[in-house]
């Protein structure tokens, strides 16, 4: 049965090659755009590589402080004191790392000045994230405690700052402070690992940051096992209730959450900083609805093309109907045909998406981008293609099945 459908489908597709080509082109373009978006999202939310342990750690990026009487609220990244005093002693976490957001700094080399991004990170940061070391070594606890002025840079920055020479061991002047390069790591573009230069937190020009509740830090909390995350989330929420500000009269309550990547983005985009629920489900729904919406126009386009095709096939439909095929059988046949075409278009789109991503990586539009189309993206691609096939196939199929056999046999729709 299915074999017959496939044969008919093949014959139909080869009969009018130009239309099939146009059909395929539309399908491929649509799915390609959607696949590129999916791959970028997937790469950001469920990364592999440097942040491959993302399913095992939570991050606390923002603390919301509520003032007396609830009138004033203040959203800020964490201060180091908050991490050191409250988050470091956590029972459920294996490691707690502190890292600042990337800041623009200037590197002075003689009369050359380069603007680069720098993070300050503690030794645990290097254990939570799996940086690929190309040369030299990574900072250790000793570097932190002794306050050594050492720096890790990434490959691109090494090429930019020290062209043609070995970067490790070179001195560099960052914003007026002298550092020595001790390691070179591969470029990465992820939420917590994106930067050009990393230095220990103890190299901050002032020690004032150690007494601050608000600052520029995020905390990464590594669990022993992925299944510990719920317990860790609960503990973070518990800790937030105990937080005392320096001036408890002015600021009474602190709110902070341990977030997975998905939670983090959902919370930020949907402004859920004060609710326990990050709105991750809502976020995914919005993404799905936007994708469906994007498919609407191409689907209409395909519907129009498909309607024309049915009319060409009216005599075939007449014969099928005259020999007793039911409307639902015809609908199923047509929808299957359409889905098959969409799946084939999806495969082409996958190749095209890979091409676009390679171009994106090469163009430097997004620095250090390295996106791979993995199994999950492939699977989402299949789902997208099927949904698209259904969306664009059902109306023409329904119209086709309603044809009057007598009229259809005569070839006049």
């Amino acid at each position: 049965m299915i074999r017959n459908y496939l044969l008919t489908a093949w014959k139909v597709y080869t009969r009018r090659k130009l239309f099939t080509a146009i059909n395929l082109l539309c399908i491929t373009l649509t799915l390609m755009v959607l696949l590129v978006v999916t791959a970028l999202l997937q790469n950001e939310l469920y990364p592999t590589g440097v942040e491959g342990k993302s399913d095992r750690y939570l991050q606390v990026g923002t603390v919301v402080s509520i003032g007396k009487g609830g009138n004033a609220t203040r959203h800020s990244p964490l201060g180091y004191k908050l991490i050191e005093k409250y988050l470091k002693p956590m029972k459920t976490a294996q490691l707690v790392a502190a890292v600042t957001g990337p800041r623009t700094v200037s590197v002075y080399q003689g009369d050359r000045i380069n603007e680069v991004q720098m993070r300050r990170a503690d030794a645990n940061y290097w254990k939570v994230l799996d940086f690929v070391l190309v040369d030299g070594r990574l900072p250790t606890v000793e570097d932190d405690t002794r306050g050594r002025f050492v720096a890790v840079i990434n490959q691109s920055t090494a090429r930019k700052l020290f062209p043609g020479i070995q970067a490790v061991g070179q001195p560099m002047n960052i914003g007026g402070q002298s550092f020595q390069v001790i390691g070179v790591v591969e470029d990465t573009m992820h939420l917590n690992s994106y930067s050009d230069i990393w230095t220990p937190i103890s190299t901050d020009p002032s020690t004032e940051f150690r007494n601050q509740m608000w600052g520029d830090f995020s905390a990464l909390l590594l669990a022993r096992d992925a299944s510990d995350l719920p317990a860790m989330k609960a503990e973070v929420a518990e800790i937030a209730k105990r937080v005392q500000f320096d001036d408890p009269k002015e600021w009474t309550t602190a709110i902070m959450w341990g977030d997975t990547k998905l939670d983090f983005f959902a919370r930020g985009l949907l402004n859920n900083e004060q609710n326990a629920d990050s709105g991750a489900a809502m976020f995914l729904t919005i993404v799905a609805v936007l994708m469906l919406f994007f498919m609407l126009l191409p689907a209409l386009n395909l519907v129009n093309l498909n309607m024309g095709r049915i009319m060409e096939r009216s005599s075939e439909i007449g014969v099928r109907k005259a020999f007793g095929a039911s409307s639902s059988q015809l609908v199923v046949q047509f929808v299957i045909e359409n889905i098959l075409l969409c799946l084939f278009g999806g495969l082409l789109a996958l190749l095209a998406a890979k091409g676009v991503l390679l171009w994106l990586e090469g163009s430097g539009l997004i620095p250090y981008l390295d996106v791979d189309i993995n199994l999950a993206v492939f699977f989402i691609g299949l789902v997208l293609a099927t949904v698209f096939g259904l969306l664009s196939g059902v109306i023409p199929a329904w119209k086709m099945s309603r044809l009057n056999p007598v009229q259809a046999l005569k070839g006049a729709a």
């Binding site: 146009i22 007026g176 386009n301 129009n304 093309l305």
Partner: protein, 400 residues
């Protein structure tokens, strides 16, 4: 003639409905892009109110934001220290640098509470105007002479002046930043009016603006930036010298030095990138629709070959056929676009988008979008129409 043409369109209404729906959606997408691009063009050609040539910004990053008690005196020390450098022509202070996405919004009232307006604000020192080559339309800029006055001196932009003092001379008027009766409100006296100040640069929507005088003896100052007008031709090497000078003034602060030109470049890029990405995606959509339209029209004409044969046999010339098919397509497109326009015209009528979509922009964008859609549909109809018109009547009548 039109009735004649409308009839075959109406006869195939269910098919044409889908096609029109597609054209309608495409029209909306094209309109949105054209309107967005038009708005960017409009904004780009509005004055920003200042010049970024040879201006550098130094962002001061205090290690501890709280508890900077004698803040005014400290930042004033920075200004003096930098003014002494030979490369610096003029140094001034402001809350934050132009071409950054920082915003400080506040409400200002007339002292009796009569009128209120939301406005952007910035604390600046007296020499800010000279540093950025700004000039006033009315009144004067504030200066050291305003020190110690009961009201803080402010310069406001024309839009705010027209909102608060319609038809009156705003110079010398008093405004305040709190409701009447509230203790902590500051009274401000307007010393001058500028045409506009759009601190986020060329693509910022015009808004109300208050430039408030920063007093060097103030206890708590919201000053985070020193702006320097450097001598023309100062090279980037100056940054190292500047950074050393800054470290001499305060060693435990950190500084971010950038020429305003660089900040402007990244600000422009930040604004344009999403627009470009959206346009590329929309371009793909349009391409697809064009292909689809082409396919559908071709199918339509193929199906109508017997009809065309009949017309040819009864004496219609090939030019007639050509015209018929193209006009039919244009009619269909116009119908869809008319519906689209009825929907879109609600935007400027209700004014949901405010200044972002005024009537000239709406009309311009609508005309461009209509032109584009008409062009695409004619282009898509050309080949099928040409094919149909070439058929000889005998062939057409025999066509199976």
């Amino acid at each position: 003639m039109f009735r004649h043409l409308l009839k075959p369109i109406w006869r195939r209404k269910s098919r044409n409905l889908m096609l029109s729906l597609e054209i309608l959606l495409t029209f909306l997408v094209v309109f949105a892009i054209v309107a967005a691009a038009g708005r960017c063009y409009q904004l780009y050609h509005l004055p920003t109110g200042f010049s970024y040539d040879n201006v550098w910004s130094v962002q001061l990053e205090q290690p501890n934001e709280e508890g900077s008690k004698d803040g005014g005196a400290i930042v004033e020390k920075f200004r003096r220290g930098l003014q002494d450098l030979p490369e610096v022509e003029q140094a001034s202070l402001s809350s934050f640098s132009p071409y950054l996405s920082a915003t400080w919004r506040s409400a200002v009232n007339l002292p009796d509470g009569g009128k209120q307006a939301e406005t952007d604000m910035l604390d600046i020192s007296d020499d800010f105007f000279a540093t950025l080559d700004m000039s006033v339309e009315k009144g004067r800029v504030f200066s050291a002479a305003d020190e110690g006055a009961a009201e803080t001196a402010v310069v406001i932009n024309r839009q705010l002046a027209e909102t608060l003092f319609p038809g009156q001379d705003p110079v010398g008027k008093i405004i305040s930043d709190g409701e009447p009766g509230s203790e902590a409100r500051t009274m401000m006296k307007v010393t001058g009016v500028i045409e506009d100040f759009r601190n986020k640069g060329e693509f910022m929507s015009p808004t109300n603006f208050v430039l408030k005088r920063f007093s060097p003896v103030a206890e708590n100052a919201m000053i985070r930036t020193v702006l320097l007008k450097v001598r023309p031709g100062t090279s980037r090497d100056f940054e190292l010298k500047l950074s050393q000078q800054l470290k001499l003034i305060r060693n435990d602060w950190s500084y971010r030095i950038s020429p305003l030109g660089d900040l402007r470049k990244s600000m422009l890029q930040e604004t344009l990138t999403p627009l470009v990405v959206l346009s590329v995606i929309a371009g793909f959509l349009l391409l697809m629709v064009a292909f689809g339209l082409f396919g559908v029209l071709w199918q339509n004409t193929t199906r109508r070959i017997p009809e065309i044969g009949l017309r040819r046999a009864t004496g219609a010339t090939s030019a007639d056929i050509y015209r018929q098919i193209i006009i039919e397509q244009l009619l269909l497109t116009s119908l869809a676009m008319a519906v689209g326009l009825i929907l879109l015209v609600q935007l400027p009528i209700t004014g949901v988008l405010g200044q972002n979509l005024d009537w000239p922009l709406f009309l311009g964008a609508a005309a461009t979008a209509i032109g584009l859609m008409a062009l695409v549909s004619v282009l898509c109809a050309l080949y099928p129409a040409w094919q149909a018109s070439r058929l000889s009547p005998t062939e057409a009548l025999h066509y199976e």
